[in-house]
């Protein structure tokens, strides 16, 4: 990370964030280790990595939503120059300043409340608008996320919505307070391509209209490659590569990023078998010496017994690998 990361226009700066999970019988396990990144005003930043790499917990730590036995043990999180970790009550930041579109649409909505009620809830809590006004804003929001026949379907319950529609309703909910930063945790995973592209277009639209920034979390490289300005690749709790979209996809340096890109099928001209990554991502409590990707790395060499540091290669392109 260069000093430009601390440029004045930074909306969110995260430095050296380490999250641990306390365990009854085992020593604490690190969920995120020394994670640093920044999001500038009006930027769409991608955070990608395999399941269990710590993307969701990193995002949740920013707004104080970590689960019970998980804590931030070191690091700094500054939002508009304000320190979020000590001082402010994270609940006050939630929704108004930083909104989260949660990962699991199918369980994030309350089954006994109407979609409209739930989308309007932040407005009720923060906004103090009149009921009729809320209903109309909710209608607009649902239309914005392309719920067909939005006003009529606002009275539907979640089970009457398809998975994709539920995810769109959650997106509408996050947009309701027009917060400057939106953490979108796999907001399109449950969606099909056309709607996915629409949501992404919508995110771009919103950024242009309101100057809002997005931290877009996904395991879908193809998706991230299509619209994020800058990308952070996370593996087993660490950022292993970061840079502009072009740097990551056209000048890939880290073996893990390369393997991920190789594993995705193409529309045409696919090989008979897709290349895969052997082994699996280490669990947080597993003791690992040296590079955390070493077990699975095709390029591993003698140096890799020592843990590599995130080094800036050229410009904004940083890599955590001895042989990159």
């Amino acid at each position: 990370m260069t000093d430009s990361g601390l440029a004045p226009e930074s909306l969110l700066e995260v430095e050296g964030l380490t999250i641990v999970l306390r365990h009854r019988h085992r020593p604490p396990a690190s969920i995120a280790r020394d994670v640093s990144f920044h999001v500038n005003a009006g930027e769409i930043v991608g955070l990608i990595g395999e399941s269990g790499s710590g993307k969701t917990m990193t995002a949740k730590s920013l707004i104080g939503l970590l689960p019970d036995r998980m804590d931030v043990v070191s690091g700094r999180v500054r939002f508009r120059g304000r320190d979020l970790l000590d001082g402010d009550d994270p609940a006050r930041v939630r929704g108004r300043d930083i909104a989260l579109i949660p990962q699991d649409a199918l369980h994030a909505l309350n089954p006994v409340k109407t979609i409209g009620w739930q989308v309007g809830e932040p407005l009720q809590v923060h906004g103090g608008l009149r009921r009729r006004r809320i209903a109309s804003v909710v209608g607009d929001l649902l239309e914005r996320v392309h719920i067909p026949d939005a006003r009529r379907r606002a009275v539907d319950y979640p089970h009457q919505f398809s998975g994709g529609m539920q995810q769109r309703a959650l997106t509408a909910m996050a947009l309701s307070m027009e917060p400057p930063l939106i953490l979108a945790d796999e907001p399109t995973t449950a969606l099909d391509v056309t709607i996915q592209a629409e949501i992404i277009d919508l995110i771009g639209e919103l950024r242009d209209a309101t100057g809002a920034s997005f931290l877009f979390i996904s395991h879908d490289l193809a998706l991230v490659s299509s619209f994020c300005d800058r990308i952070y690749v996370m593996y087993a709790g660490e950022i292993v590569e970061s840079g502009t979209k072009d740097a990551i996809f056209s000048h890939t340096r880290h073996p893990y990023t390369r393997a991920l890109i190789g594993a995705a099928p193409r529309l045409a001209g696919n090989p008979e078998r897709l290349p895969t990554i052997p082994g699996r991502i280490p669990r947080p409590h597993e003791e690992i010496r040296g590079c955390r990707f070493r077990e699975r790395c095709p390029d591993a060499g003698t140096a890799c017994g020592e843990a590599p540091r995130l080094e800036t290669a050229d410009g904004d392109h940083a890599v955590r690998c001895w042989y990159a």
Partner: protein, 278 residues
């Protein structure tokens, strides 16, 4: 109808003008009726692989459920191996149940949380008439090995497996009854690219070994590009285009298909375009 024509004998599955409507429920019929399938026709030859793509709510899952007889249909018909699915009963129905197996999207909910993986997979062998406990166990372990899982996972409970492992176990359960047709509903949507690659490779390997036909529903066009020789595009419950995958992707006829292809992001830094909605 590029592949429905000719040789009806070789057809494993034939659907003609299949329509399904979900009635609005509740006192005020909120939401109203939804026509989930509207005169859908297609056919699948033995040993074919058919991909079905389309936006969410276009009726893809409903179509699979109708074939499985989990959802009734209003009109038209669907025949599996020459027999009308709706009229089957008794042993014929049991036979259909065995020969057509689903693998659903959500690997978290497809196993009964109270039973071990081995017990859930073993059920299939029991239904095939293998009643010796040891016999079932051996078959289960062999099958787990076949789908690339540690045979010792037979004792694991569903929540102890990762998403990818659970999806492999779900595939093993489906294969236990030696089906002729697998219906896959977004089988890799919940999985990482790296795990998706393993599961897709696995399907190809297993198909070579077991020789089943396959229908794969997905929102991910590149997955169809890798897996399927034929492609069916759906929109609002209707079939808008079908044909050989390479042809459809190379020269789409319908504007909707074109939009779908243009909006499919590929790993290349290409910009995703929102599809035109007419």
């Amino acid at each position: 109808m590029p592949f429905a024509a000719g040789m009806p004998d070789a057809m494993l599955l034939v659907a003609r003008k299949l329509s399904t409507t979900f009635r609005g429920r509740g006192l005020l019929r909120r939401g109203g009726d939804v026509r989930a399938l509207n005169e859908v026709s297609f056919s699948l030859a033995k040993n074919q692989t058919l991909g079905i793509v389309g936006e969410s709510g276009s009726g893809k899952s409903t179509l699979l459920r109708v074939i499985l007889r989990l959802t009734p249909y209003d009109s038209g018909n669907v025949a599996f191996d020459g027999a009308e699915v709706a009229t089957l009963s008794g042993t014929a129905l049991k036979d259909l149940r065995r020969r057509v197996q689903p693998v659903f999207q959500d690997p978290y909910a497809t196993f009964n949380p109270r039973f071990s993986i081995g017990s859930s997979i073993g059920l299939g062998f029991e239904l095939l008439g293998e009643h010796r406990r040891q016999g079932v166990r051996e078959e289960v372990r062999r099958l787990l090995d076949d789908v690339g899982l540690d045979p010792d996972l037979e004792r694991a409970l569903p929540h102890e497996l990762s998403g990818g492992q659970r999806q492999r176990a779900a595939i093993a359960r489906a294969l236990a009854v030696r089906p002729d047709l697998l219906l896959l509903d977004e089988p890799t949507s919940a999985l990482d690219v790296s795990v998706q690659a393993q599961v897709l490779n696995l399907f190809k390997d297993l198909r070579r070994r077991y020789g089943f036909s396959l229908i794969l529903v997905t929102h991910d066009l590149p997955v169809v590009g890798f897996m399927c020789d034929h492609l069916l595009v759906m929109k609002s419950g209707e079939v808008v285009e079908r044909g050989a995958t390479a042809t459809v992707i190379g020269k789409p006829v319908s504007p909707y298909t074109r939009a779908l292809i243009d909006s499919a992001p590929e790993v290349s830094g290409k910009k995703a375009q929102p599809a035109e909605r007419q």
